[in-house]
């Protein structure tokens, strides 16, 4: 939580200014009743109408000062809350962007989403409220105590004996409730997850008529959430009655002790009466403070979840002074080993090299580790053993931005954003129109776009649901090509394209993008048989490496695949 509060440091000046104004406003609020009792007690008996009106006008003046003080102070509080939240969200989002894939896997995407939205929202609410009520209540509390001290210190002491109890109770209750609020936020993760899953899988759910099942599944997480909310708030609602009771008992103590003091002639009975008036102010201030505690506990749970993300160590930092590769190869994989779960290897002893402008085909069964190779090359994950070189330098030496800036990629589950076609292809890279046209033509989506009413400005819905599978893939290919990348990665980028379109795509790539070093990941031999080199991968191990011709001669697995796919139109 300290981490979160440190965001407020920047606004110290503004906050202390607001504080001063708020104090003035609050003092005005306190002064008005005081003036009132002054008129009634002192002036009315004198019958001085002029002074009555004079002081009455003073009261009205104070009312105005109080109004402006409070309004300005509240504005400042809202402003600080706004600036604070803007900063915090900015940093959280930036941090999420910089997390490594391994860290993202660990926290999971739904949890990141809810930390980003729900948790920052809770903290925001707290910051605003703390400033608004958090200042007024302590002033009233302290002011009230000071006044009672001037009335009679001993009676004040009696009243204050309950204060330690109040503090202890508040402390215990917030101690109990913070972990509960953390649980609430965790079950919000589940709650959000189920909604997301349902929206994503709506067709399947409807097709299988699983609405009832999903209702039950949601009901479960919804019930869990409500139960945690209940249990955390059940603890919280004890606070008010207990504090009320403690302070009231303190008051009874005051009356009893006061009775003795009056009887002993130490004080006048009027003081006991005045005590009861100020007691109300103290009580209300105390209750306000506990209200802040409730908000604080909830926000603390959220704050810790945010701080957890902010405190994650920077993964995948560039490393200096690693061994270099002195061959004239552009990309080199040198005995690379890698495992996602740190158990079985998902990539085992992988070696290959490519010259600039060459192409590599990667073929293998589903789940054999084809995509993993790209994940490693782009340093989404760090390898366990071996080295990967790009242009002579170990990829770990590159700045991540620099490294990834060399790529143009199409992934299997590539994101399509709900903007328009132009934005999805340009992707904020300020590409020239001619580059984009060239890319869309090569990807054979140009005609489709041109035929649309709004052309490049045609809106795209979330995940590209208003495009067909093939249109989506071609748009993604255009995105990958549009910046004339040094390295082009097409991971199953043609699975939804028919043979004719795919053949044209290959031709276009060769003609217009021959300088790009290209990786093609696929199931189809026809997609890669013209590549300079081909890797046949099975279960993370390399089963063959060489040109199409070499592989056909030597590698049994490759022959098999070839036979199946091309052999006289058999089945495929």
């Amino acid at each position: 939580m300290r981490k979160i509060f440190s965001y407020l440091k920047k606004y110290r000046l503004r906050m202390s200014f607001g504080l001063v104004i708020k104090i003035i406003g609050t003092v005005m609020d306190l002064a008005i009743p005081w003036l009132l009792s002054y008129i009634i007690d002192e002036i009315v008996p004198l019958g001085d109408v002029q002074r009555i009106i004079l002081i009455g006008l003073l009261m009205i003046l104070f009312s105005f000062v109080g109004l402006f003080g409070s309004v300005i102070a509240n504005q400042m509080a809202s402003k600080v809350a706004k600036l604070f939240t803007t900063d915090l969200r900015h940093d959280v989002f930036k941090k999420i962007e910089s997390l490594s894939s391994r860290q993202t896997d660990e926290v999971t995407i739904p949890s990141l989403v809810s930390r980003m939205s729900s948790d920052t929202y809770n903290v925001h609410s707290m910051i605003g409220m703390m400033q608004r009520i958090g200042v007024r209540a302590p002033i009233l509390l302290i002011g009230g105590i000071i006044v009672t001290l001037t009335l009679d210190p001993i009676l004040t002491l009696v009243l204050l004996t309950v204060l330690p109890l109040v503090i202890i109770v508040t402390y215990i209750i917030s101690k109990i409730s913070i972990p509960l609020f953390t649980k609430v936020q965790q079950s919000i993760d589940d709650f959000v997850r189920v909604i997301r899953e349902n929206i994503a899988g709506m067709r399947v759910i409807k097709a299988l008529s699983k609405e009832e099942y999903e209702k039950n599944r949601f009901h479960k997480v919804s019930k869990e959430l409500i139960d945690y909310e209940l249990s955390s708030q059940k603890v919280m609602i004890q606070l008010n009655p207990i504090i009320n009771l403690l302070l009231n008992i303190g008051m009874v103590g005051v009356i009893v002790v006061g009775a003795y003091r009056v009887n002993g002639g130490d004080i006048l009975s009027g003081k006991v009466l005045a005590f009861t008036t100020y007691f109300t102010i103290i009580l209300n201030a105390m209750l306000s403070i506990t209200r802040i505690f409730v908000t604080f506990s909830k926000a603390a749970a959220s704050g810790n979840r945010i701080a957890y993300i902010l405190d994650l160590p920077q993964d995948l930092v560039p490393v200096d002074n690693l061994k270099e590769d002195h061959s004239d190869n552009y990309i080199v994989f040198d005995h690379v080993y890698f495992s996602y779960e740190k158990k079985e290897y998902n990539i085992e002893d992988l070696s290959f090299s490519l010259k600039r402008g060459e192409s590599l085909g990667i073929i293998g069964a589903t789940g054999s580790g084809k995509t993993t190779i790209i994940n490693l090359l782009m340093r989404f994950y760090d390898i366990d053993r071996g080295n990967i070189y790009l242009d002579g330098k170990n990829i770990k030496e590159y700045d991540l931005q620099e490294l990834r800036g060399k790529f143009g990629t199409v992934f299997q589950n590539d994101a399509i954003f709900s903007t328009d076609i132009y934005d999805n292809i340009n992707f904020n890279r300020n590409l020239s129109d001619s580059d984009i046209d060239k890319a869309t033509k090569a990807a054979q989506i140009y005609d489709f776009i041109d035929g649309l009413e709004k052309k490049y400005d045609t809106p795209i819905s979330e995940r590209g649901t208003n495009l067909s599978g093939g249109q989506r893939q071609r748009m993604l290919v255009a995105r990958a090509l549009a910046n004339n990348p040094e390295i082009l990665v097409l991971d199953d980028a043609a699975s939804a394209l028919d043979y004719k379109t795919e053949a044209n795509l290959r031709k276009n790539l060769k003609e217009n993008y021959s300088s790009s070093t290209t990786f093609i990941i696929t199931q189809r031999v026809s997609s890669i048989m013209n590549c300079d080199k081909i890797i046949v991968i099975d279960d993370g191990k390399v089963k063959g490496y060489g040109s199409h011709k070499e592989l056909l001669e030597k590698v049994k697995l490759y022959q098999e695949i070839y036979q199946l796919q091309m052999g006289g139109g058999l089945n495929e």
Partner: protein, 593 residues
């Protein structure tokens, strides 16, 4: 025609008036009328107890008042003990009240959440084409949460305030009708001011909710697509765009909160003003007439009691404003048009044979843009129908129509000679099994995911299906085998493997019609060959609709529909179409180039 489609999808979230939203909220509260009434009674009781306390302390002080050496300790102790008793009772009551109120408000929230979710499930697919996931979640998550907060605290506050205001007003009128006149001036000012603020802030709070929804939709989309963003090194620009959204959202929040926070001081000001006026007027009255000092002081005491709650209520109104804005969005979701209800006389589709017919079908996702034009074909039971054509020609749209995810604009679709609009949707959909391009798995064990379509499937059934789909050995290698929990980002699982899992899921279904939409596009060829036997088994005796661009898969089809630009340009079997030397034979020969 179909109204749900003509006024499409959730965009009908026009600003609703406050009264409507209040009425809807009220309806929700009415479900728990009994408990709410108990709450109100408890509120009155605990307030009465709270009022007795000061009265007792006054009596105790009277007993002290006699002065030095004359204090009546017997009375003091008597009242002190009574006070303790009453305060204990008052605390207990207020605890019970809060607990009850908490429970009621949680029940209301629980119901709201479930209703909203149930509505999501019954919305037409088109709703999700235009409404973003993040925004829907934002509504489900803390728009409802905002309502929650104000329900559990504000209701009690309002009750308490109303009681106190009425009580003290009565007392004041009894003491001095003349002084009450001051309120005749100031209360209208308060009311006008509050009304003005409500009008002003309502818009602002609505904006706050909707911009927050936009921001969350943006975060959701970007965090989900983070890998792509990183691959393209777009972090900074996306961050910039995030900042812009963030600025809009926080600015809207700032304005709403700022104007909202004026209400409190504003009303407080009016109160102070009336206090000053009462004081001046009362003091002058007392000087000029026989108006007693005691009367002024008790009038002032009551007027403070009177204005305190009004001040509080003004603050609550700010809260209420934000929850009304939130409620408006939530009801926007709950009131979104459902899929057109089944006709009242809709039939269950029973004993399915699997004869499907499209008759002059026209369809467009947008009214003025037909995607499918004049589609006519007949699929007899047990036959294999293949749909081929360039991407974007409308193949998947046909699937959407078969399953009645969308209703057609013109023409008829028949299953076993029933117009599908005369059938119960669920029974129609149950008649199909399908494997889609977009694989979908949810967070749950492998077993749960596979048995999803058949709730009574045994482990043995599931294993057999997995074996047939060639995914069994992958599953056994997972940390917990069939009990491994699949989660987003948790386990690295390729798209091909996902497809095999969905195929296994479909194999467990018992239906008479089958839809395979690019079902094996991400499965490697060898595996595809291996599962072919199982696929054949799956297709046996079923009317099958196959969409594929690998033409090899469809050579055995009984009927091939070649679609281009939303029209059927050729139909026939493989041999016939090849002989035609038309579009199909072009497509077919391209794969051997």
């Amino acid at each position: 025609m179909n109204k749900a489609r003509n006024t499409p999808n959730g965009k009908q979230e026009k600003p609703k008036d406050i009264k409507y939203v209040l009425r809807r909220l009220w309806n929700y509260m009415c479900y728990f009328k009994g408990q709410l009434i108990i709450c109100i009674i408890l509120t009155i009781l605990s307030n009465v107890f709270a009022l007795i306390g000061p009265r007792l302390s006054g009596l105790a002080i009277d007993a002290i008042e006699l002065g030095k050496g004359k204090v009546n300790f017997q009375l003091v102790f008597k009242y002190a003990i009574l006070m303790v008793i009453f305060y204990v009772l008052s605390s207990v009551f207020s605890y019970i009240l809060s607990l009850l109120m908490l429970k009621v408000s949680k029940k209301i929230i629980f119901k709201l959440r479930n209703d909203a979710f149930n509505r999501i499930l019954s919305l037409p697919i088109s709703y999700f084409d235009t409404n973003k996931t993040g925004d829907i979640i934002s509504k489900m998550n803390y728009d409802i949460d905002t309502i929650n907060t104000s329900l559990s605290t504000d209701l009690i506050q309002i009750c308490t305030s109303v009681i106190t205001v009425i009580g003290s007003l009565i007392m004041m009128i009894i003491i001095s009708p003349i002084l009450v006149c001051v309120f005749v001036i100031t209360i209208p000012i308060s009311l006008l001011f509050t009304r003005f603020m409500i009008k002003k802030t309502h818009k602002l709070f609505r904006k706050r909710s909707s911009t927050l929804g936009d921001l969350n939709a943006f975060s959701e989309e970007m965090i989900t697509g983070m890998k792509t963003i990183k691959a393209y090194d777009r972090e900074e620009i996306i961050l910039d765009r995030f900042d812009k959204n963030n600025e809009i959202a926080t600015q809207a929040a700032y304005q709403a909160e700022y104007y909202g926070s004026i209400t409190g001081p504003g009303v407080n000001f009016v109160n102070n003003l009336s206090l000053s006026l009462i004081c001046i007027l009362g003091a002058i009255l007392s000087v000029k007439t026989s108006f007693s000092l005691g009367k002024i002081s008790s009038f002032v005491l009551y007027s403070r009691k009177f204005s305190g709650p009004i001040n509080e209520v003004a603050n609550i109104f700010t809260d209420l404003q934000s929850s009304l804005a939130a409620a408006e969005r939530v009801f926007g979701l709950i009131d979104a048009h459902e899929e057109l209800a089944d006709k009242y006389d809709a039939k269950e589709l029973e004993d399915v044979l699997g004869n499907v017919e499209f008759k002059k079908v026209f369809f467009g996702y947008e009214e003025n843009k037909m995607i499918l034009k004049d589609i006519n074909f007949k699929a007899d039971k047990g036959k294999i129908i293949a749909i081929v054509g360039p991407t974007g020609s409308g193949k998947t749209t046909i699937v959407n129509l078969l399953m009645r995810f969308y209703d057609i604009n013109q023409g008829n679709i028949y299953v076993d000679n029933n117009d599908i609009r005369d059938l119960k949707r669920k029974s129609l959909r149950k008649a199909y099994a399908m494997v889609l391009q977009d694989t979908w798995l949810f967070e749950g064990t492998v077993f749960e995911n596979l048995a999803y379509g058949k709730s009574d499937a045994t482990m043995e059934d599931v294993i057999n299906a997995a074996k047939a789909s060639r995914i069994h050995s992958f599953i056994t290698k997972l940390p917990n085998g069939y009990d491994t929990v699949l989660s987003e980002g948790g386990i690295n699982i390729s798209k091909g493997q996902k497809q095999l899992l969905t195929i296994a899921r479909t194999m467990l279904l018992d239906s008479h019609m089958l839809i395979l939409d690019e079902a094996t596009s991400n499965v490697d060829t060898r595996t595809e060959i291996y599962i072919q036997e199982a696929m054949k088994e799956l297709m046996k005796n079923k009317t099958c609709f196959i969409i594929a661009h690998r033409l090899s898969t469809i050579q055995n089809a009984d009927l091939i529909l070649v679609i281009k630009d939303g029209k059927i340009v050729e139909q026939g079997n493989h041999q016939e179409l090849l002989e035609k030397k038309g579009f199909y034979s072009n497509l077919y020969n391209a794969q051997f180039d």
